[in-house]
């Protein structure tokens, strides 16, 4: 078990007039090679939750273990935890600050005290992971890039620390469709090729559901659904709609057919899925 959360609660401004309970009774186990999507409405506690994963926030009560180590114990080396769990914040391009992309991506490994040779190697490797050619990009200013490219540089500067798990908070927010697809493709590739665990936080149902293997749905500070995307779309469609999360159009279509008494499988995620299901249905009826 890579990350383990046990009966975890978190309250902002505890004991103050604006005290708000943000996380309630979170129990969660994440393996180190999983690919997880965390979805939920704005204000449901997604960002607060992931900030616990690497010790940026400490639970009000309950426990978090990372590789078996209790993060609330005195003397825990949080710096080490943060190397293992790389957190990419929302709009990470706002955190870019160096003069060149090379300097930007080498900042992390340099802070780790690695020798220059190793730093160089890691920078090249990290840029390659996000499909940016070192020779073309290294000396350019990060501020001369497009939004999508800036985001990839920000991602590379986390990857150069070589985390075991990558947590991304709304990595596709504000990108155009191609920028969004590119970054999701990079993340999937990093997961597949390097076996890196990924937790993707988003409210973009459609795209996240077709990318991840496991979906966690949060609502008002609790994880209320946990499972494979297709199962969730089949069984919990009403809950998702009620929470205001919406369904992909094709899933909605299948559920509406079902409501009309048609015998179709509603757990479709993509146009491909829906096409297959409809064709299958028509074929069996012809016979």
């Amino acid at each position: 078990m890579f990350i383990h959360l046990e009966n975890m609660y978190f309250t902002y401004s505890l004991g103050m007039p604006f005290e708000t309970e943000v996380l309630k009774n979170i129990n969660l186990k994440i393996d180190k090679d999983e690919f997880i999507g965390l979805i939920g409405h704005t204000g449901c506690g997604k960002t607060t939750l992931i900030q616990h994963f690497n010790g940026l926030l400490t639970p009000t009560s309950g426990k978090i273990y990372v590789e078996g180590v209790d993060l609330s114990k005195k003397g825990v080396n949080l710096k080490l935890v943060r190397q293992k769990i790389g957190l990419v914040f929302q709009y990470p391009e706002n955190q870019l600050f160096e003069e060149t992309i090379d300097q930007e991506v080498s900042f992390g490994p340099r802070k780790l005290g690695l020798p220059e040779g190793k730093i160089k190697k890691r920078v090249r490797e990290a840029l390659k992971m996000v499909d940016l050619d070192y020779s073309l990009y290294a000396e350019r200013s990060p501020f001369s890039l497009s939004g999508g490219e800036m985001r990839r540089v920000a991602l590379a500067s986390i990857l150069s620390i070589r985390p075991k798990m990558l947590i991304l908070d709304e990595p596709t927010a504000n990108l155009d469709p191609r920028g969004r697809d590119n970054i999701l493709y990079e993340i999937k590739k990093i997961h597949n090729n390097f076996g890196m665990g990924v937790v993707l936080v988003s409210h973009n149902m459609e795209k996240v559901a077709e990318t991840v293997d496991r979906l966690l749905v949060m609502h008002r500070g609790e994880i209320i659904i946990d499972g494979a995307p297709r199962d969730i779309f089949e069984k919990n469609a009403n809950d998702l709609v009620e929470m205001g999360l919406g369904l992909p159009q094709v899933t909605e279509c299948m559920h509406k057919l079902k409501a009309k008494g048609k015998d179709v499988y509603a757990g479709v995620l993509t146009v491909d899925d829906a096409e297959k299901e409809v064709l299958k249905k028509i074929k069996t009826l012809k016979r």
């Binding site: 939004g147 504000n174 469709p177 459609e206 205001g244 009309k260």
Partner: protein, 279 residues
């Protein structure tokens, strides 16, 4: 219907007097009529926002002309009248709200144009009523959700009797519920108040709600037509780096497989109805 916004041979070049010129708009010709609901789609850098900013004199053409109700945007004496007529709402709700209560925020614009207090109160109430935010009149804006903030921003624009509303990706930073709130209000303004809407978006489901879609690419109009005409051009849309509504893609694919389903379907309900004939 009368033509109210007329764009003729519009070109816009950023850094015109410098070395690193960027041509953002390239020979745009466009007419927007009273009561239209036009959506503008296009990938990042295609010129959408640049075009929007020309509609209320935030930018002026490098060459070409824009006329709003026959007033040329280059005519400096008309700038304020054009800005009052063409309200704008931007992407980030937090950058547009300035006052400490919702009603003050909406009154701000009215104060600026010197409207009398009594009328001001009427306008504020009217605008808040339309965007369904009346009960939040005394609320502090920072306690509102993103969707609510955008509705306040819309109220601020329409309170000035604007007849056009330009919305530049107003839902990009909102979650699905916030998106729906904003979209519902925009549709209502168009239908019930006859406000002409120019709506910039990346989301095809939103653009599908409009009466006309314009796709920009590299500063030029690449596709134009009714939603069902534009969204059925799947290959062209993909080339422009744009999404295709899932349901339209499904309709096209089934149609290609020899199933008699119209490839012009844009709405889930229509697809359900068509499929019911087969399964």
């Amino acid at each position: 219907m009368s033509i109210l916004i007329k764009i003729k041979n519009l070109n816009h070049v950023y850094n015109y007097h410098k070395k690193d010129q960027i041509k953002a708009l390239d020979s745009i010709n466009l007419e927007i009529k009273n009561g239209d609901f036009v959506s503008i789609i296009g990938s990042n850098g295609s010129g959408k926002s640049t075009l929007a900013k020309h509609l209320n004199c935030l930018l002026l053409p490098t060459t070409g002309d824009i006329r709003v109700d026959k007033m040329n945007t280059k005519n400096k004496s008309k700038t304020w009248e054009i800005r009052r007529k063409v309200g704008m709402v931007f992407q980030n709700p937090d950058n547009q709200i300035i006052a400490t209560t919702v009603e003050d925020d909406i009154a701000f614009g009215l104060e600026n144009v010197g409207i009398k207090t009594k009328l001001m109160r009427e306008r504020v109430d009217w605008a808040l009523e339309i965007v369904e935010m009346k009960e939040y009149k005394k609320s502090e804006p920072h306690l509102l959700s993103g969707g609510q903030k955008q509705r306040v921003a819309i109220a601020g624009a329409i309170a000035l009797y604007s007849s056009y509303l330009v919305l530049d990706e107003p839902t990009a930073m909102l979650d699905p519920r916030g998106r729906k709130e904003v979209m519902d209000i925009v549709k209502k303004l168009n239908r019930e108040e006859n406000i002409t809407i120019i709506y910039i978006t990346h989301l095809m489901e939103e653009a599908a709600e409009s009466s006309r879609v314009i796709a920009l690419n590299k500063g030029k109009i690449a596709l134009e037509g009714k939603p069902e005409e534009v969204f059925t051009q799947i290959e062209a849309l993909k080339e422009l780096r744009l999404d295709v509504p899932q349901i339209t893609e499904l309709a096209l694919r089934l149609n290609k497989r020899g199933i008699n389903i119209s490839p012009h379907i844009l709405k889930v309900e229509d697809m359900v109805e068509s499929l019911c004939l087969y399964i």
